[in-house]
């Protein structure tokens, strides 16, 4: 063999391998768990010519051809009809203290039956649940758990509420919605833990059937949202406004990540917005960032930064500002907005003494907003 032949043959072999290997690897990348999928028609989409559809659930407004999936990975166009692939297909089910969600003004000291499917419509580099949010439903082990069964299980485990959580419940909207309706019939409440990336119409419909919504406000600049979340800040702020105006209980979580969204000027601006746009009574949680997923090499948030954030928000007039992931810190307890005495003492997820009666401070009688029973 001469040099030219050698090169030609090696290049040829390389091309063949190069063409075939990606599909082979993709096959091994995708179909690990062989999770089962659902085929339930989705809501909030419109049909277009040539069997295309446009999703109307979230601002991405995915326009999809036949056999294409939305950005979230769990909704698919099949022949011009849009289907949710995760209806009744839970991949994670746990019983968690409601404080873990966190909801601090909603049935304190109780447990929430927490359920999730695969998928998400944003891509946070710091996602705590990336093993289910950043994958397709075929890549997880799904359990058939129809809506009515979840409500029954909540009763069986004495959970007064169901939390749609871990990944992004907006992407399993239909499942969540039907479960909430069934749960309400059994007097089980529904709590939504969401990034808030949803269009107004589905949000309004959802508000009608759930009892509490916690929105993760991941940052307060579109730069941050674009670079680290791949989402849209304006949509999230609109979601918060809409929920605040409804009868549904609202709490907000702000995950503080060192150098990325921890400037006090930005936090002050955010706190002002919350006070002016949604009210000073809305609980705001500053949560400590723990390194994981794509940013597991970043440093965690210093507690002093969280304390400074809390002080800043309280300084802007917000009444209920908490620290998350710092067990035992005074910033975990609820203080009466009038007399400043601790009305709910907390250490981590454990609720200690509660000095409320009928939603009022036992010391001075001032009203403390929340869902207490």
């Amino acid at each position: 063999m001469n040099r030219r032949q050698f090169i030609r043959r090696t290049a040829g072999a390389g091309l063949v391998i190069g063409a075939g290997l990606p599909s082979l690897c993709a096959g091994f990348g995708a179909a690990q768990e062989k999770g089962s999928l659902s085929r339930v028609e989705a809501r909030y989409y419109k049909k277009l010519p040539d069997r295309e559809i446009e999703c109307e659930l979230c601002p991405r407004a995915c326009r999809l051809g036949d056999k294409e999936r939305g950005y979230c990975g769990v909704r698919e166009n099949q022949g011009g009809t849009y289907y949710t692939l995760v209806y009744g297909k839970a991949c994670s089910l746990n019983i968690d203290p409601v404080e873990k969600k966190p909801f601090f003004h909603f049935l304190p000291g109780t447990n929430a039956l927490s359920v999730a499917t695969a998928g998400c419509n944003v891509n946070c580099k710091f996602c705590q649940n990336w093993t289910i949010s950043q994958v397709r439903p075929e890549q997880v082990e799904n359990t058939d758990l129809p809506p009515e069964l979840i409500a029954a299980q909540a009763q069986e485990f004495r959970c007064p509420s169901i939390a749609y959580t871990y990944s992004e419940p907006i992407v399993f909207y239909e499942y969540m919605y039907d479960t909430a309706i069934g749960a309400r019939r059994k007097r089980v409440r529904s709590l939504v833990v969401t990034a808030g990336h949803v269009k107004p119409e589905p949000l309004r419909d959802l508000i009608a059937v759930v009892d509490g919504i916690k929105v993760d406000l991941k940052g307060f600049s579109q730069d941050f949202y674009g670079q680290y979340v791949r989402g849209d800040l304006k949509t999230v702020l609109e979601t918060i406004r809409t929920v605040a105006k409804s009868r549904v209980w609202l709490e907000i979580v702000y995950l503080v990540i060192p150098t990325l969204n921890d400037s006090m000027a930005g936090i002050r601006e955010m706190a002002r917005w919350v006070r002016n746009e949604v009210g000073d009574h809305v609980p705001l949680h500053f949560s400590r960032f723990q390194p994981l997923y794509l940013v597991k090499n970043l440093p965690p948030t210093p507690i002093s930064t969280l304390e400074a954030a809390r002080d800043t928000a309280l300084g802007e007039g917000l009444k209920f500002v908490y620290l998350g992931n710092v067990p035992g810190h005074p910033g975990e307890s609820t203080y009466c907005p009038a007399c400043q005495k601790a009305v709910i003492l907390r250490t981590g997820f454990k609720v200690g003494d509660v000095h409320l009666k009928g939603g009022k401070c036992k010391f001075c009688g001032a009203s403390v907003p929340g869902i207490w029973a």
Binding site: T131, Q134, V135, P327
Partner: protein, 757 residues
């Protein structure tokens, strides 16, 4: 030919040796620093080292291949070397700002594809010009490429020694690289002695000074928006310290080691284990003492702590930057600090402990994998009392354990159960594994009662937090997941946990990396190790008994030597680190041994008046025997000198085989390109296969055994050639490259490479 005679070394005012010596020196030194810096920015594990080494071989060979076609005059060699130095500096700058270029945060994980791309780009910058330089050197020495090979190997050995001497505290990687480059500039000047050489020297020295001066500022800039307050290159890796508010974070080779204060991490590493045996007295803590581990252990009355930390620089930096309370625990008379490899300490100590706490990063590299193997646990069990507990922590996922994480955790659990009859795992964002000969419990109530009895107050491992973390559903879920399958046992020489961690790590990037690694893990050993041997045997038999034999038959030993030597190098390094501890500081000397052997072998080949297939067969057979001896060394602990001797022996035999095989080949066909092409491809394939999955999945003993068989096949083949002399083969073409009539043997491009810094 007249042109070439005029361009001979004597006419250019240089002595014959230094230019080729310089090639080996620069190539090897550049490669070592490139690998060290690559490890810092791409979380160096053996997989990424394989990329760099493979890319280096690829571009060096391509440089040698295209060199004649570019028709660069050999008298431009000084400029080429100087350009290579400049490109080396540029490459390291690119690497330092790699995350910025990728649009990623300084601490962000980036996946295998960027690592591969960067390794290809950097090797193109640095190895390609040195590949060109080899061809020019061959022309300068009248086409005596074997002599170039010998001198280059000597230069490489010298570089290994020089870099080892420079790897001292206080001399950063960039400063060391600048010194090496400056030395290279001086060597260029003295080797070529031309007027223009002054300018080249001045330029090189200026660049070296600027480069060294830019080290700290560029490091700080690369870490922005985070505040880097300290950095130190140690024999164990590059340490860096960030300050965020009142918190300090320590990094080693780009990976987070610990933050202070970080109460949760400190408590997790201690209390789940010690609450199993509240009467604990003697505790061995491997790593993590300065980040709060010691302080947490001291909460237990009367405990005595042996805290082992391999890198004294961590303590030194901590004493300089951390607040007093962080250091106070180390100054407690109940704490004894030892600067030593944790495993070596464990093997050496005669003490018995109530608890051994392994507080190290997860097995993301084959080096750290040593603390998660059956052999390590067996040693730990010998040093634990009858109710003693061993614990370690790995990152996990709280709410869903996917298939990749499950496989990874399975190996850890399985390995622990192979040694300890009682094993439990604590669920959560991090999983704490506990092993003991006596029963264990993850009951929140029992732990809370112990804490109360002892008067221990914790924040995270506390009566308030434990019920949620140790909920029955979560414990059962984790147990069900990690015991669903058989699980492979993680061994020193079969580091499967490291491999499955690589799959898990790669799965975060949504690319093909994880699919590729997963694909490899499902291929049975027969198809990887045995089927190719069978196919090779058949091909050799066919080639040996053909009527008209190809001249390429003499390159079979060359290919086998190239393939085998790189695999043996990598295997010996892994064996060294598992037997004798951290290999980081010794790698240059190990490389030096191999290169010195290579030089010796090629010298012997050059000195020999005439080569013959019988001689080739004898040496090939000897190589097979040496590989078997390396296998014996791998499975039984011997003297620390043995790995050095093994590498020198393999290098010597490989060097001889290359020179002799090429000489025989070129007698029939004057095409120097084919020989180095075969050697290149063989080494490239060897390094990619070994780093990516062969060693992690199948282990070193199996690999070395198959390599010995391969060389036995080669021995039998060349013996057949000796017994039945070759036919005419291909006719002489009479053409070839500009150096065709004078080029006798050629070899791989610049530097055969070390598998790690």
């Amino acid at each position: 030919m007249q042109v070439l005679r005029r361009l001979r070394a004597g006419n250019l005012g240089l002595s014959t040796g230094p230019p080729a010596l310089l090639l080996g020196f620069l190539a090897t030194a550049f490669q070592i620093y490139l690998l060290r810096e690559f490890a810092v920015h791409f979380y160096g594990n053996e997989l990424t080292f394989g990329f760099v080494l493979g890319a280096w071989l690829l571009w060096g060979g391509i440089g040698s291949l295209v060199g004649p076609k570019l028709r660069i005059r050999p008298d431009r060699l000084p400029e080429l070397y100087t350009a290579a130095i400049g490109l080396f500096f540029s490459g390291l700058v690119l690497l330092r700002f790699s995350h910025r270029l990728l649009g990623a945060l300084p601490g962000e994980l980036t996946g295998l594809v960027p690592a591969l791309v960067f390794s290809l780009v950097l090797a193109l910058f640095i190895s390609f010009p040195l590949g060109l330089a080899f061809v020019l050197n061959a022309a300068l020495l009248g086409g005596d490429a074997p002599r170039v090979y010998l001198l280059e190997s000597l230069g490489a050995a010298l570089a290994g020694l020089a870099v080892h001497l420079l790897l001292v505290p206080g001399v950063s990687n960039w400063a060391g690289a600048a010194l090496v480059a400056a030395a290279g500039g001086l060597m260029i000047f003295f080797a070529f002695r031309r007027t223009q050489a002054w300018r080249l020297l001045a330029g090189t020295l200026a660049a070296a000074i600027l480069f060294a001066a830019a080290d700290v500022p560029s490091l700080k800039s690369a870490w922005k928006p985070f505040a880097l307050i300290a950095a130190e290159d140690t024999p164990f890796g590059k340490l860096q310290v960030l300050k965020t508010g009142d918190q300090f974070s320590f990094y080693s080779n780009g990976l987070a080691l610990f933050s202070y204060p970080d109460t949760e991490a400190a408590e997790e590493s201690v209390h789940f284990a010690l609450l199993q045996r509240p009467e604990v007295k003697d505790v061995l803590l491997i790593g993590g003492g300065i980040s709060g581990g010691c302080a947490e252990i001291l909460k237990y009355p009367g405990t005595r702590v042996d805290y082992v930390e391999i890198n004294p620089a961590i303590i030194r930096l901590a004493e300089r930057h951390l607040p007093a309370p962080a250091i106070a625990a180390l100054r407690n008379p109940r704490v004894r600090v030892a600067f030593e490899d944790g495993r070596a300490f464990l093997e050496r100590t005669e003490k018995t402990y109530d608890a051994i706490l392994v507080n190290l990063p997860e097995p993301a590299t084959a080096q750290i994998n040593r603390f998660y193997t059956r052999e390590f646990y067996a040693e730990a069990r010998k040093k634990l009392g009858s109710s003693g507990v061993l614990s370690f922590i790995v990152p996990s996922a709280e709410n869903y354990i996917n298939r990749d994480l499950q496989q990874f955790l399975e190996t850890l659990d399985r390995t622990l159960r192979d040694v300890f009859p009682n094993v439990v795992a604590v669920p959560g964002e991090n999983n704490v594994f506990l092993g003991s000969a006596s029963p264990l419990s993850v009951d929140a109530g029992a732990m809370a009662a112990s804490m109360q009895r002892l008067g221990i107050h914790n924040t995270f491992v506390s009566p308030e937090m434990l019920p949620a973390r140790l909920a029955a559903l979560r414990i059962d879920y984790l147990k069900e997941k990690i015991r669903a399958g058989e699980g492979l046992v993680n061994r020193d020489l079969v580091p499967v946990s490291y491999y499955f961690h690589s799959i898990l790590w790669a799965s975060q990037f949504k690319g093909l990396e994880s699919g590729a690694l997963r694909l490899f893990s499902r291929i049975p050993a027969f198809w990887v190790l045995d089927a190719p041997l069978v196919a090779t045997a058949l091909a050799l038999a066919f080639g040996a008994f053909k009527k008209r034999r190809s001249p390429a038959r003499f390159l079979v030993p060359v290919a086998f030597a190239g393939f085998s030597s790189i695999l043996v190098e990598i295997a010996v390094l892994i064996v060294f680190q598992s037997s004798f501890g951290y290999v980081y500081g010794k790698i240059s000397l190990l490389l030096c041994s191999f290169m010195a052997g290579l030089a010796a072998g090629s010298f012997a080949g050059l000195r020999q008046k005439g080569q013959s297939p019988a001689g080739l067969a004898a040496v090939q057979g000897t190589l097979a025997v040496v590989i078997l001896l390396v296998l014996k060394m791998a499975v039984s602990r011997g003297s620390e000198a043995l790995p050095f001797l093994a590498l020198a022996a393999v290098g010597t035999l490989s060097g001889y085989l290359f020179v002799a095989g090429n000489r025989l080949f070129l007698k029939e066909v004057p095409r120097p390109g084919t020989g180095y092409g075969i050697d290149l491809l063989a080494s490239f394939v060897g390094v990619i296969l070994a780093s990516s999955f062969v060693i992690p999945l199948f282990g070193i003993p199996l690999l070395l055994g198959r390599l010995a068989v391969l060389n036995i096949l080669g021995f039998l083949f060349t013996l057949t050639l000796a017994a039945f002399p070759a036919g005419p083969g291909l006719a002489r073409s009479g053409t070839g490259t500009a150096f065709g009539s004078i080029g006798k043997a050629d070899r791989t491009g610049p530097g055969r490479g070390s598998p790690g810094p």
